[in-house]
Assembly symmetry: C2
Homo-oligomer: 128 residues x 2
C-alpha cells in the first residue's frame, strides 16, 4: 500500500478497507500484510509469524463473513514512523442472524518500499 | 510504575488496574501517566499533551464511574521497548442502569526511571 503523500487518517482508512475486504474475499491473501516478526493476539491467543498468522486466520470456524466498520482511529506511534490503527465494527457470519461486535488494533510499520506491514495485531470480540 | 523484572503481561495488568482505579477515584491524578507528546483520541476527538488530556478526562459529562475490565492483551511494540495494551470492559456510570461497553488501547513507552508513560491512548464506546 503506497503511503507517500497521504495523510495518516487516509492511510489508516485505506488500510482498513483493504484489510477487511481481503479478509472477507480472499483470506489467505492477508499473508502479504504480515512479516516474520509480526504478532497477532486473537481472542487472547498469541501467534507470531506470517505462516502461523495465516494458518490461524484461515482456520477460523467460519468461512464466509463480512466485516462492517463503525469507527477507525489512528495515531502516529513514535519516531519509527509507525502508525496505530484502532477499529470497531461488527462481523456478520454467513447463516447467523446477529452480527458480532468486535474491536481490533493494528500497529503498522513502514517498509523500505514506502508501504506498510502489520507488526502488531490484537483482535477481540465484544459479545454484544 | 516499576517495570524492571516483570513479565509484559504482568506489567500490562498492573498498568490497567492502576489506570482505571485512578480514573474512578482520582481522575486528575491521571496526569502523572501522560507526557507532553502524549496523544489521546477520545470517541474520535484528538487531544495532545498532559494538560489538554487531563482537562478532557476531568470534564466528561459524568463524575462518578466504575470501570470493569473484561480482557487485557499486550504485545511489545518494537525496538523502542514500548508496549501495546488493549483493553475491553464496561463502564458503569453512577445512577445509570446499564453499563456501557468500551474498548481502549494504550501505547506505553519506557521512562529513563524504568517505569512507563502513556504515549498513545485511543478510547471508544461500543454502544451495546
Amino acid at each position: 500500500m503506497a503511503a507517500a503523500q497521504m495523510d495518516p487518517d487516509a492511510v489508516a482508512k485505506a488500510f482498513v478497507e483493504h484489510y477487511y475486504s481481503t479478509f472477507d474475499n480472499n483470506r489467505v491473501g492477508l499473508g502479504g500484510l504480515y512479516q516474520e516478526a509480526s504478532m497477532l493476539t486473537f481472542e487472547g491467543q498469541k501467534i507470531q509469524g506470517v505462516q502461523s498468522i495465516v494458518a490461524k486466520l484461515t482456520s477460523l470456524p467460519f468461512q464466509q463473513c463480512k466485516h462492517n466498520i463503525s469507527t477507525v482511529d489512528c495515531q502516529p506511534s513514535g519516531p519509527a514512523s509507525g502508525m496505530l490503527v484502532f477499529v470497531s465494527g461488527n462481523l456478520q457470519l454467513a447463516g447467523e442472524e446477529h452480527a458480532l461486535k468486535f474491536s481490533q488494533m493494528f500497529h503498522l510499520m513502514p517498509t523500505p518500499q514506502g508501504s506498510f506491514y502489520v507488526f502488531n495485531d490484537i483482535f477481540r470480540l465484544n459479545y454484544a
